[in-house]
Subunit: 902 residues, 2 copies
Amino acid sequence: MERLVFPFNEGNRSMAELLGGKGANLSEMISLGIPVPDGFTITTAACRDFLERKSLSEQLESDIEFAVAKLENRTGRRFGDIKNPLLVSVRSGAKFSMPGMMETVLNVGISPDIARELAIKSKDPKFAWDSFRRFVEMYGRIVCAVPASVFEEVRHQYLAAAKLNSPLDLSAEQIEELSYKFIEKVEFLTSRSFPMDAKAQLLRAVEAVFSSWNSERATLYRRRERIPTTLGTAVNVQMMVFGNIGEDSGTGVCFTRNPSTGESGDYGDYLECAQGEDVVSGIRNTLTLHDLVNLQPKAYTELKSIMSKLESHYRDMCDIEFTIESGKLWILQTRVGKRTAEAAFCIASTLVDEGLISIDEALLRVTGEQLMNLMFPQFDLSASNERIATGIPASPGAAVGHVVFDSKSAVDEAMAGKRVILVRNETSPEDLPGMVAAQGILTSRGGKTSHAAVVARGMGRVAICGAEEIKVNVAAREFSANGHTIKANDLISIDGGTGAIYLGEMRVVESTVSQYLQNSISPQKFTPLIRAIERFLTRADIVRTLDVRANADTAADCDLARNFGAEGVGLVRTEHMFLGERRTLVETLILSDSAELRTEVLKEMEELQYQDFLGIYLAMEGLPVTVRLLDPPLHEFLTDKTELSLSIAKKEANNQPVSDHEKALLAAVNRLHEANPMMGLRGVRLGVLIPELFIMQVRAITRAAADLLRTGIRVKPEIMIPLVASQRELLYFRGVLEEEIKSLLVDLDTTLEIPIGSMLETPRAAITAAKLADYSDFFSFGTNDLTQLTWAFSRDDVEHSFLPRYLDLELLPFSPFESLDQDGVGLLLRIAYDEVKAVKPHLKLGVCGEHGGDPASIHFFHQLGLDYVSCSPYRVPIARLEAGRAAVLTRKLITLDEKATA
Amino acid sequence: MERLVFPFNEGNRSMAELLGGKGANLSEMISLGIPVPDGFTITTAACRDFLERKSLSEQLESDIEFAVAKLENRTGRRFGDIKNPLLVSVRSGAKFSMPGMMETVLNVGISPDIARELAIKSKDPKFAWDSFRRFVEMYGRIVCAVPASVFEEVRHQYLAAAKLNSPLDLSAEQIEELSYKFIEKVEFLTSRSFPMDAKAQLLRAVEAVFSSWNSERATLYRRRERIPTTLGTAVNVQMMVFGNIGEDSGTGVCFTRNPSTGESGDYGDYLECAQGEDVVSGIRNTLTLHDLVNLQPKAYTELKSIMSKLESHYRDMCDIEFTIESGKLWILQTRVGKRTAEAAFCIASTLVDEGLISIDEALLRVTGEQLMNLMFPQFDLSASNERIATGIPASPGAAVGHVVFDSKSAVDEAMAGKRVILVRNETSPEDLPGMVAAQGILTSRGGKTSHAAVVARGMGRVAICGAEEIKVNVAAREFSANGHTIKANDLISIDGGTGAIYLGEMRVVESTVSQYLQNSISPQKFTPLIRAIERFLTRADIVRTLDVRANADTAADCDLARNFGAEGVGLVRTEHMFLGERRTLVETLILSDSAELRTEVLKEMEELQYQDFLGIYLAMEGLPVTVRLLDPPLHEFLTDKTELSLSIAKKEANNQPVSDHEKALLAAVNRLHEANPMMGLRGVRLGVLIPELFIMQVRAITRAAADLLRTGIRVKPEIMIPLVASQRELLYFRGVLEEEIKSLLVDLDTTLEIPIGSMLETPRAAITAAKLADYSDFFSFGTNDLTQLTWAFSRDDVEHSFLPRYLDLELLPFSPFESLDQDGVGLLLRIAYDEVKAVKPHLKLGVCGEHGGDPASIHFFHQLGLDYVSCSPYRVPIARLEAGRAAVLTRKLITLDEKATA
């Protein structure tokens, strides 16, 4: 029989899979001798079982009963006992932290009788009835599914009848009376009696917390964070301690270092006479941790000591929830703290300096996504935009957008293509969709540990919290700030790094991180962040085995890529050289009947490409440059069929003359029209049909290389043939190209080896790669097209038709165009890799699809054993970092394996 | 050192790979004691080496010299010797017979001196100089590449100057003089002296025959017959015997049975005083074999005895070339004879009756393609079309077409979509492209063994030869026949089974074979052909392990399929049920904003489909019916985008009112437009987005089944989900369907198991089939789409853009849409099969793409181990036959393997 319940003193930190992160850490703290209220954890396995059978098993119910009995013995209190009651909290706790996404019920086990006794014992009737009121409200909302607004409405009516302004003004008796009104309303709405039996309360609360795993917001969050939906949550049942017994009680949240910058120091929020959720919800503005020095000196000293102990123990910055009950400190939870990208780099680097972790361990603590966030543009502070207010900088970055005041508007406007800033008094989990959709979040209330701040940091959204200078009027859809009134749809700019709020759209400039990465910052000006980034990128470059190249089509792109650390160009898309003004050349080529004219146009094209390649080779001197021959179908260079037909039809209808050119163009467009151009006449097929077009390209590639070579410039061109599907096709077309190169080199009197490789982008090429290897000097996986063909997903079409719905329904864990589908497309890569290595072990294999810049995909490519990834220039540093991390991870796995076999 | 030359007495029949078919059979006949002129064979390996190095190797030249020396010893004649000359023929001979496709040079080793001596010795100067003239003309044409028309022109001028009408009237001296004129012309055109050295003649002739392997017509023939281009041809050098020494000499071709019907009897052509090519070229009309009874009684008796010996030895109908030199019979060649489809069945069956071969061996001698030819329609003899002439029925079938008089016109008109009949005096290998393009061939000269007849039979074209009643005037582009004049482009109908030529387009009716296969012929009327077909199909049904189902969308299709022997329906394309008038229903569904209207339309659709399924189930009672849910994108049911845009624009321009309906339609068309619909919103994806459409289908499928079941009709519906790409998608959508079926069956109070399977048509589905197997009750490969996606070939597009060019260049051996690409797409099938069998060994796997009816593909599917193929109804008998042949072949292979290991 699987064990479904673990008392805190029987678990430990390594059991997060089963006990969830929170449960495992509670157990760990108990073993460290930290004052944690006693309790037990119901496992994630129990949750999975519950979600499948949709009810608690008899086994689980009896295990819980047994665990409660043992808890009663350890605490000396009894569940449901009036004289000496045991009250508990019931909290979710999944393997991966999902802050605020699931439910918590506090004060479970209470009843009016117990509250009455509690009032007498504590000599604090207001605390006792407030605890009861909290329970009723939470239980009603979470277990009985009565909307929060119902309670707000009842409270509002009660206050109005009592002629009171604030709930804080209610007396103990009034709170008791209000609680009964809540109960009455819940019973009316649910047609069930409100349970005052402790055991029933507990079991229903456990069920509700389990069920909250599948709530809409938890599901949405998991999808964003790529947390598997099959894990389930554990539930922690913990003896209540009370931060709401008078002034010498309170509750707080702290970090062992600043989660925005990584600096050491007091960092946290505290609220007197409050229970946990009050801090996080941001309803009341909080005191700082430092205020505790005077308010609770003993508890403060103990807390500082525990913070230090936990950071050393976890060897990382920790996030801690605590409660002080009548001067006595209790730790309710700890975990490795969420942090900003900047803090992640700085903390990891500092921990190395402090000798707590190794440089490779530190490298695993920072991610490419964080580095990418740091590369985002910043506001240009020399701009003239008026600063209208300042709040607490809660999640860094620069965001510009139209103001919206609710989650739904944020989603709607964003769907319509607008950038939006979500402005709220405070956010709650219900606001999550809007926060995902928004560029940034601005709240007038709450601290750095409020829901808005924590969630925004987690998802890399810009956020300013607790901006007390602004007054938000959601009903009127406006906010005021120091004399300004900003209405819905007005543009504002917010700086999550400084807390500054500006009117209008503010100019953005390159971030200092981005400037550093392009070598355009002098070492004297290096900040701790820059130094940390330098440290980790240097380490990554040392350990990684995957080369990083860039996809670049112009000399300017190449310069950028090289500054970012690219070790070559993995993909020059030559068709990009025929867009804009040069498009007419292709048009002329297609329309011309005259061989002379065609030759002339090809000559002109060759000269243009020759110049293009000269620039690219110069920028990449000494590094390989893979030039892909023309890939798209010809009609992509012509006007759209429907558009052209309509324009000609209109002219005809209006008796305007239709030129011969237009007629010829329409004929060509109709002739070249394809039902599925993605799978039509393009790439090597076009080369077979119109070899002169590709010969022109190969001449330009070769001539530019030969000319530079003669002046002593080291050039390393490589030619890549797109859309290859069979060996015969490759053999034939390679022959056409080689013949041209050979005779051209004779004419130029130059010796030059130009490797010719194949792009593996059709499923057939992947599974027959061993055969293509006979005539390929290298391979590059075109994972974009390979993904389209393997799934039968036309990217342009499906991203707007069914892909969003598929993501909603979790039929896809993520878009296979953003991150490589390792089980499907990845399997084709693996087949190709194994086949090729079996026949040509030293053949170079790379990736030049967009996945080359995606962290998860990079790890896959590393594990597969590829030689390089090629990505957009801005992704190069990210790819370098992730390739380094992948190498460290692989080494770690090897070490673990060695241990296992030793 | 590889051996490059084999004397005839050192080879045998099993060496066709190396010696070619002709060489191997010559050796075999020598060992049987049949009178074959002595000689030697140069191997195909030598040819491959020559084609690569583009010259004869020194090794080969010396081997040939050595073989000539040995031949001189054996024959007692000397090559180039004036007194006792050895003359040889140099003939091609590939592994697979390619009649008339490659070159032959006769009388090699002759010179004016030798001819002069030959004239004296033979006392037949005309024969001697004619032999010289033949050599000069053939060598000039084949080795020196001087066009045949040049010789015609020289001959024409010479005859005119000599005031003669026919070359037959030339005296020996005149033939000698004409030969010198030929030599003069060749030397002038080639600027080289004409070689009179025997050895030089031989080596150049060998080179020319090797080179003819890559001639255009040989290449075209190989592509049609799917003969690999890498094989190369052998060359046979054989002592000349002369059919042109006077009246008691001659040459002929015979078959051991009638190659059109398989009947026994004398069957062949004979020409007095002639050399080999004269018979085949059809220039002179021939005598029949039977005429030899009186002309050459001794030779005739010997020939009949050899024919019988060869048929017994080869255990098959043989085709024999012979020459009678001054009364002495020589056999020049034999091979298993080409035959019509009808003859193939009849001969194979007769050979079984005669105890020469087993029934399974006989099954391997007939093909699905032959059966298909026999199923082609025949002329309705009750039609009133006038019969204008009758020729020799040379290749059976009914053809209707517009008359053309040359190969190029045939190709051009056929490309333009016209059916054509190619009319010639005789055909030559140059006419091959036109013969391929034409429906039928009609010649005024030549017998059943003429080029036209042999080639037409080989490629299944209808042909009538030697129609002496017609006079063809190619220059005037017309022919006359019994008072009628038929001009180019006039319609005629020709019956290759009877030799009848009709005016105009004649009505066609179902062939008797087709009628038999549909059970609509009474056994009393069975012909020998029908009995043979019955015999082989019965045997095939016994031995085959592959089930044969049909793709059928209507009850009528199902009836047809079932008559043809289908064991179920493997694919009901439900979208076909919404074409025609019902298309508007889909349109209404797409355009409607009103939920009520949509429900109403869906209701109506459900009723229509319900009726459709009732009919299908009834027709297939007791057999499985696999219904594929809606597959194509919705916009396929709407008007074309450009067309609609244009029609609306025109109305607007003319100030005509544009209806709201048209506007809504245009909006819908634009909204649903996709860049690559093949890979867009279709199949299961549409089901996820618009479940009600698919629920409607599933309701109709279930209701129709339940209703019939209740009346005692046995129904076996299966539901197939198209375009599945991932397990999650399948799991989700299957759930949607199952829920509907379950609740519907409760409503209907019926118990009914409906298997739900997946169509494997995306590469991802194939490679992750093991995962899909968790939620699939069966699988069916959709090889059409799988081929499109694996190659990135959009069928509609590439068949008109690059596929023809790819076939021309042999970059593809055949269209992967016609026959399965076994190396690529087949590999995906193999991966899927292995994966699935590893997890669910008993899961049913079938194929429902068009490849299900293609013989080569059926053999692949059988070898792979699939459970069934599904093909169009008319292909069902073909699939049955081929599945049986595949089973016999596999068994044979197993037996061979057992021998190998024993």
